[in-house]
Every structure is written in structure tokens, then in C-alpha cells.
């Protein structure tokens, strides 16, 4: 301890100066400003006046950089920026003394931009670019604690699953675009009848839905989302509850006009949604880590939306969109609150903490508010969402009883989970938690969750405001027609109300039985099949195949690599020669004395290089070859090239001579018949090709342009130099950069070893 003193002080100082700057609030302010900017469109959009922005991108392919802010896009943009502002503020406090705050903020900002772009895009390619942007930033953010094996594994898992889904989506978008003849999403949506009638519809549907299911964690791809909880709490709250995972749901909603209404759509979305919903809510009961429990309820929420979109029609869409908002508010609020619990008490496992309400009254209030909305209690927004869900499941044209029963079961399980989150950590007898004195965290941490939890209550109390601002335009954009009826807290007695009461009763029973269920699930867990093990098996197999391939192809033998390369090169040339229409050339075969002289010099030098055992002789002969070529250049009017060749030849000899001093004698090159055959095939191919080329006509228009414009336009009489420094100056600039880089690289290679040799001494 004593020795570490000064260092610790130093570290703390830098950390403080890092964390205390006001810059850390900038992202939150930017996001808040963006929220306000988007808010100005609420009025026009709700009146059907939809702003668009289109910039040409690749007009030849019909691809544009297009954005369209309809009700769905606007709601998402507001959610992303609004919740973003709170999460950024939260993150600035959560990582206050962490030097990685800047990189976290940057990644979060990049994610927010991708997400806003994804939701507002009106071009399939634009959408896909942003879609991939969210995948990559999510990878970075899940792997934020990259020193931990678990984080890396979770990050790669999320990347592979959502990335593979992204590729499927891309293919689906391309097929859909070529079918419709436009990549604009709005036009695709107008062509819904064409798409549904096409024989390609099942292909398009499967590919697009694969993208949606992977992104929104539907069975059998659901397991990556709980794994993604390896990310820091602000990231989980933002990406894996409120925004990114909803991208899949968003896309299903976006393509509802284009793809929905078929049996395939309903028969895929409803069963998968319902199954994932129950699976996830059951597994939520198994968790003791509050964050993991919330992760499973997130999967459940996403499945609920998938199922509702699968049912289709304005009722179900209205329920899905309302539930989307409900879920975003309470889930982000709860995630952030769990972070507060962890900061305040040192743990987020409900078996380790209890009775915190007295020490952390503020956190307890926030969690209570958000959990009541999650449980669907009156008068919270969650209640309205739940009523709408029952309203639509009861009227579903697809197995209404089964769907309603599934919804009741899932909602009851959710009720029990919200009970766990709200009651276990805060009530009962206080016990020793990992932190000695648990306390509420500072304002920057509680502000965001408080607003979100309060929104859950306010939206419940004033449903008509939410309806006008968000829900009605969203439903209009997705279902193509207005909201049927109005959002209201109290519809009077009716089927939804009775179903709600049934849910509460069942949920209460489940809550009481929770410990028993938990124990039962924990015992059953190892025996149950898990789709994650399919993933693991697949990845292991992939690794094996890759390893076998590289052992086979990459045998570590340089000679065999080169042999293959040269053979492949020769094969390409020979195939082109034999398959092509080139005829044997009719050039002049006259050979003069000077030609013989040069030919003899170079050929003799080649033979010497091949045969000699002496390095010095080899280098000299190499110089002979170069000089012979320089003479060819002189004879045929390439004075500049000849000079360059000669000077380079001199330098090559100098360099070789220097390096040679330290390279050992290795004797001559032994004769290897196989190599000779390969080299021979390649050499003959080159000779024949060149003869063929010389026999064909040559387009001299470029040369003539240079000849005519060199003197009058570029004011130079040496055409070669004018081409180099004027007509093709950009090329030359790149080439000078290459020379500089080669010099730097060679310098680095030489000097790095030198330092090592010295340091080792």
C-alpha cells in the first residue's frame, strides 16, 4: 500500500479530471435537442402531412438516400432520442469515474444515429445500412467490458445472430425491391397486393422475417438477448429494452402493409410470438438476477408485439403500438432503476438484497411506479395496453381462445415478475447487502428513470394526449386506417376487464408460488433442450471445418504456395489463349544485329543468375539484365524510362550488396524438375500472350491526346513527364505516397529488430 501511494494519487487525479468535465453532458443535451426537433413534426404528421427527404445516391440502380417521417417513424425517433437523452445522462453519472466514458458515449451516439436512421429510412438500402449500423454498435456495446470472456462471447453471439439475420433481410429487401421495381419502402408498401400475389412471396417473407426474428430475439434466436446483459446497465436499458431489439418489431410493423394479411404471415408470427412469449416469461421466473429477469420479460414483450402484429387488423396494431410505448417506458425505467439498485446496494440479485426501501426511498418509488405499469395496474399506462391486448386477442380471427389464454398466462407471469422486482429488494427485513450503507444515487442517475416511470403514470391518466401525439399516427402508418375507438382508462365492465381481473388473480397466485416455481425450474433446467446449444454446436462445427480447410490449404510450405499461384496464373492465361479468338500475329519477324546483341546479353545474364552459386555474381548478372532492358528502352525511344531503369539498377546493386553481407551463403539453386515445369508453362504463356497482343490493333487515342495537348495546354515538351506530373498527377501523388510508405515500412522492419536486439542485451 505504501509504495503504491504516489501512483494511486496520480491515477485518481487523471480519472477525476477525466470524469468531472462538463463535456460528458453533451450527448444528453444533443439527444434532448433532437427530441425537441422531432417534436415539431408531431402536429403536421398527425394531420397526415408527412415530411420526406430524398437525396440521390446510386440513381443507376434506383437507390436513394431517402427518409420519410410518418407516424411510426416519428414515434420511434421520439422514443430513441427522448430515452436516449435520459440514458446518456444516466451513463455520464454511471461511468463518472471511468475513463472509458468517452468511448461509451461515442458508441451510444453512433447507435442512436443508426437507430434513428433505421426507423426514418424510406429506402431499403438506406434502411439496411442503418440496420447493420445498429448491429455493429450493439456488438461494440455488449462487448464493452472486453476484458471479460463472458462479454466477448455474448458480443460475438449477438453479432453473429443479428448479423446473419441482417444478411437474410438484405436478400429479402433485394428480392422485394426487384419485384416491385423500386427500393422505396413507401412504394413497396403500396404494392402489397403485387407482393402477396407473387410466387416469390414466401421467399421474401421468410428472409425479411428472419431478419426481424433475430433482431427482436424471437425463438429460436431469443437466447442472445439475455446474453447481451453482459453489457453495462445503461446500454442494456437503451439497446436491449427500449430501442434496438424493437427494430425487428418495427420492421414487421413497417412492412405490415406490404407483407401482412396472408396465412403464412399469421401462421408464423402468432405461434412463434405466443410460444416465445410463454417460454420467456417462464424463464424470467427462473432468474434471481433482476437484470436477467428483466431481459427475459423484454423477450416476452417483443413476442407479445410480434403476436399482435401477426393477428393484424387495426385493433391488434393499435394494441401492439400502445404496448410498444408502454413497454419502452416501464422497461427502460426498470433497467435504469436496477442500475440504481446495484449502485446503491452493490448487488442486483434479489436473494442478496432486501428491505432497501428505507435506505433508498427514491429508488423504491421509481421501481414501484414502473413495476405497477408493467403489472398493468389501474391507472397506469400498462393497464390501457393490457386492455387493448385482450380486446384484440378476443377478436382475433385466428384461434382467439388459445391466443387469449397465452396472453393471460404471459401477463400473469409478468405480473408476478413485476411483483418480484418491486417487492423483494425493498421490503421484508433489511439484511447485510454487499455495500455497508445503501443509499439513493445522485440526481443524474435518478432523473431519467423517474421521468420514464412518471410517464407510465401520466400516459395512463391522460390517454387522449398519447393517442393524438403518438398512437393514432402510428396506427395510421401501419394499419393504413385510423384508430378504432379511443384510448381510455375506463371502458366500463366488459370482457377485457374480466380478463384483466383474471390475470391479476392468476398473477397473484403465481407470485405466491414463485419460490416453488423457481426451484422447480432450476431443477429442470439442465434436462431441457436449449436452442443456444444448437448455436454452440454450429460454431464448433464451423471452427472445425475452418481448421481442416486451413490445414489442408495452408501447409506452411512457401514453395507449394508459390507453385499453386504460378500454376493458377498460367492456367488463367492458357485458358484465355485457347478459348479466345486471337489469331497468330502477323508482325515483322526481322531481327537485326543489335537485337541479337541485347538478346544474348540478357539471356546469358539470366542463365548466370540461375546457375551461379556466388551471390556477388548473381547480383552482377541481375545488373546485366537490368542494363540490357535499359538499352531496349533507349533504342525504342524511352529515354526517361531508360535513365530511371539504370539508376534503379545501380541502387539495387548497392542495396543487395549491403544486405548480402549479412545474409549467409546458401549456394546455388538446386534443380527441381517440378518447379522448372511450372515456370516453363508460365513463361511460354507470357511469351505467347505478348506475341498475340502485339498482333492486334492498338487504340492510340489517349496517346494522341497527350501528344496534342502536352505543349499547348500543359506547357511541357517532354510528354512522358507531362503525363506523370500533370495529366495523371493524382496517380503520381499516390505513387509518391507508396514510395514513402515503403520507406517507412522498411525502416520500421529494420529498426524494430534493432531495438529488440539492443533491449535483449
Amino acid at each position: 500500500m505504501a509504495e503504491a501511494g504516489p501512483e494511486t494519487v496520480l491515477v485518481r487525479k487523471t480519472v477525476l479530471s477525466h470524469g468531472a468535465g462538463l463535456w460528458r453532458f453533451i450527448p444528453a443535451l444533443v439527444a434532448a435537442a433532437a427530441t425537441l426537433w422531432f417534436a415539431q413534426f408531431i402536429g403536421p404528421v398527425s394531420h397526415g402531412d408527412i415530411p420526406e427527404y430524398v437525396a440521390s445516391w446510386v440513381p443507376q440502380l434506383g437507390i436513394s438516400f431517402a427518409f420519410r417521417l410518418d407516424g411510426l417513424a416519428l414515434a420511434f425517433a421520439l422514443l430513441i432520442c427522448g430515452i436516449g437523452a435520459m440514458v446518456f445522462l444516466y451513463a455520464s453519472a454511471y461511468f463518472r469515474s471511468d475513463r472509458r466514458l468517452l468511448s461509451l458515449q461515442l458508441s451510444l451516439m453512433a447507435f442512436a444515429v443508426s437507430m434513428v436512421g433505421l426507423t426514418t429510412a424510406d429506402d431499403a438500402i438506406t434502411l439496411f445500412i442503418f440496420w447493420e449500423g445498429t448491429t455493429v454498435t450493439s456488438f461494440l456495446l455488449i462487448g464493452f467490458d472486453h476484458e471479460k470472456e463472458k462479454s466477448r462471447r455474448a458480443a460475438i453471439q449477438a453479432l453473429i445472430i443479428t448479423g446473419a439475420g441482417g444478411l437474410a433481410l438484405f436478400a429479402g429487401l433485394l428480392v422485394m425491391g426487384s419485384l416491385v421495381g423500386s427500393f422505396r419502402l413507401s412504394e413497396m408498401n403500396l404494392a402489397g397486393d403485387v407482393i402477396r400475389a407473387s410466387p416469390l412471396y414466401p421467399v421474401i417473407f421468410t428472409l425479411v422475417i428472419l431478419g426481424c426474428f433475430t433482431k427482436s430475439a424471437q425463438w429460436p434466436f431469443h437466447f442472445w438477448l439475455p446474453g447481451a446483459m453482459a453489457a453495462p446497465t445503461p446500454v442494456s436499458a437503451y439497446l436491449h429494452s427500449a430501442t434496438m431489439v424493437k427494430a425487428g418489431v418495427f420492421l414487421m410493423a413497417r412492412f405490415t402493409p406490404a407483407l401482412s394479411g396472408t396465412d403464412l404471415w399469421t401462421w408464423t408470427l402468432v405461434p412463434v410470438g405466443a410460444f416465445t412469449m410463454i417460454l420467456a416469461s417462464v424463464w424470467a421466473m427462473r432468474q434471481t438476477d433482476l437484470k436477467l429477469m428483466l431481459a427475459f420479460t423484454t423477450v416476452m414483450g417483443l413476442s407479445m408485439m410480434t403476436m399482435l402484429l401477426g393477428i393484424g387488423g387495426p385493433y391488434a396494431v393499435a394494441a401492439a403500438m400502445t404496448f410498444l410505448l408502454v413497454h419502452a417506458f416501464y422497461k427502460a425505467g426498470l433497467f435504469l432503476s436496477v442500475g440504481m439498485i446495484e449502485k446503491g446496494s452493490g448487488s442486483r440479485d434479489y436473494t442478496e438484497i432486501s428491505g432497501l426501501a428505507r435506505a433508498m426511498p427514491h429508488t423504491a418509488t421509481v421501481v414501484m411506479l414502473a413495476a405497477l405499469s408493467m403489472a398493468g395496474m389501474i391507472p397506469f399506462f400498462g393497464f390501457i395496453g393490457k386492455e387493448l391486448i385482450y380486446e384484440s386477442t378476443a377478436h382475433a380471427h385466428f384461434a382467439p381462445q388459445a391466443v387469449t389464454a397465452a396472453a393471460i398466462l404471459a401477463n400473469a407471469l409478468m405480473f408476478a415478475c413485476s411483483g418480484m422486482v418491486a417487492i423483494r429488494p425493498f421490503f421484508f427485513r433489511p439484511r447485510a447487502c454487499p455495500k455497508d450503507k445503501p443509499a439513493d444515487p445522485g440526481w443524474a442517475l435518478w432523473l431519467g428513470p423517474t421521468i420514464l416511470a412518471a410517464l407510465g403514470l401520466l400516459c395512463g391518466l391522460f390517454p387522449s394526449a398519447v393517442e393524438h401525439v403518438l398512437v393514432a399516427p402510428m396506427v395510421q402508418a401501419v394499419a393504413g386506417e385510423g384508430l378504432p375507438g379511443h384510448l381510455a382508462l375506463w371502458h366500463g365492465p366488459g370482457l377485457p376487464l374480466y380478463l384483466s381481473l383474471a390475470t391479476f388473480a392468476l398473477g397473484f397466485v403465481l407470485y405466491l408460488l414463485l419460490d416453488a416455481i423457481h426451484t422447480g425450474l432450476a431443477a429442470a433446467e439442465p434436462k431441457l433442450p436449449r436452442t443456444e446449444s444448437w448455436y454452440d454446436g454450429f460454431m464448433r462445427g464451423l471452427g472445425k471445418v475452418a481448421r481442416r480447410t486451413s490445414v489442408l490449404v495452408q501447409n506452411g510450405n512457401m514453395t507449394s504456395y508459390l507453385r499453386r499461384t504460378f500454376l493458377a496464373l498460367a492456367a488463367v492465361i492458357w485458358i484465355a489463349l485457347l478459348a479466345g479468338t486471337a489469331s497468330w500475329p502477323g508482325f515483322r519477324l526481322s531481327v537485326e544485329a543489335i537485337d541479337w546483341a541485347i538478346f544474348t546479353i540478357i539471356t546469358a545474364s539470366i542463365v548466370v543468375v540461375l546457375r551461379t552459386a556466388s551471390r556477388l555474381t548473381g547480383i552482377t548478372a541481375l545488373g546485366g539484365i537490368g542494363s540490357g532492358i535499359a538499352i531496349i528502352f533507349v533504342i525504342y525511344g524511352a529515354t526517361d524510362v531508360a535513365m530511371t531503369q539504370l539508376f534503379v539498377e545501380i541502387l539495387v546493386v548497392i542495396f543487395m550488396a549491403i544486405a548480402m553481407v549479412r545474409l549467409p551463403r546458401t549456394g546455388g539453386v538446386p534443380f527441381v524438375p517440378l518447379n522448372a515445369v511450372v515456370a516453363g508453362i508460365l513463361g511460354v504463356a507470357v511469351s505467347v500472350t505478348l506475341l498475340m497482343v502485339l498482333g492486334t490493333g492498338l487504340d492510340l487515342s489517349l496517346t494522341e491526346f497527350f501528344e496534342e495537348n502536352s505543349a499547348p495546354v500543359a506547357l511541357g515538351h517532354n510528354i512522358v513527364n507531362v503525363i506523370l506530373v500533370d495529366f495523371r498527377g493524382l496517380d503520381t501523388m499516390g505513387e509518391t505516397a507508396v514510395i514513402a510508405i515503403a520507406a517507412i515500412a522498411a525502416y520500421a522492419v529494420l529498426m524494430a529488430g534493432r531495438k529488440r536486439a539492443r533491449g535483449g542485451e
Partner: protein, 120 residues
């Protein structure tokens, strides 16, 4: 002359490839130089051969007729210098690898390959 240049290019490529396949660093560098020489020769000849009239516009004239093709010359000129840069970098690598790995046999420089022992 064309047939001579075509033959020379073939010889150079064949000899260069043969030397590169020898598995020793110095012959490898020799081979590399030969192949880059051959490439320059091929590009030059592809622009057609014109005897003894460099592409220099006489003083006072605006244009020139019947001179040798300037375009491939410009391309080769930089190619020669860049080829030299590449060769020197390869030389530095060869030198350094000999110093670090203690061998000039390229088949022994396979520490990063799968299924082989380091420096075997």
C-alpha cells in the same frame, strides 16, 4: 525485334518464377526483380515499339507525329521506382527475418501457420 522481346519476357518470367520457388530468400529476391523487369518490358512492348524517336516535342512545335508511345513509358517509369521500393522492402524483410528466425529457408518461416511447430 518483337519476337525477341516476347521471348525475353517469357524467359524472365520463367526464370523469376523458378527462382522464387527455390525457397531461399536471396534467390527469391532475384526472381522478384526479374518478374518486375519482365512486367515493365511487357507493358512497354504492348504500347508498340517505335525505333529511336522519343516523345519529346521539338521546341516551337505544338505536337509530334510518329514518336514512340508516351503513355506506357509514363506507366513504367513509376512502376520501376515502385518496384524498387517493393524490392527494398522485401530485402528489409528478408534481412530481418533471417536475423529473427535465423534461417533463409522460407519453408521454415511458418510460425504462424496452422499444424506446424514453431521454427521446426
Amino acid at each position: 525485334m518483337e519476337i525477341m522481346i516476347a521471348l525475353l519476357a517469357g524467359f524472365l518470367v520463367a526464370a523469376g518464377a523458378y527462382l522464387m520457388m527455390s525457397g531461399k530468400t536471396l534467390p527469391y529476391l532475384f526472381g522478384l526483380t526479374m518478374i518486375s523487369n519482365a512486367a515493365n518490358l511487357i507493358i512497354f512492348a504492348s504500347g508498340r515499339l517505335t525505333f529511336g524517336k522519343p516523345p519529346l516535342i521539338p521546341e516551337g512545335a505544338h505536337s509530334i507525329e510518329g514518336a514512340s508511345n508516351a503513355l506506357p513509358q509514363a506507366l513504367i517509369l513509376t512502376a520501376i521506382v515502385i518496384g524498387f521500393g517493393l524490392l527494398v522492402f522485401a530485402l528489409a524483410l528478408a534481412y530481418r527475418s533471417y536475423y529473427v528466425l535465423g534461417t533463409t529457408k522460407m519453408d521454415h518461416m511458418n510460425a504462424s501457420e496452422p499444424g506446424t511447430e514453431v521454427g521446426s
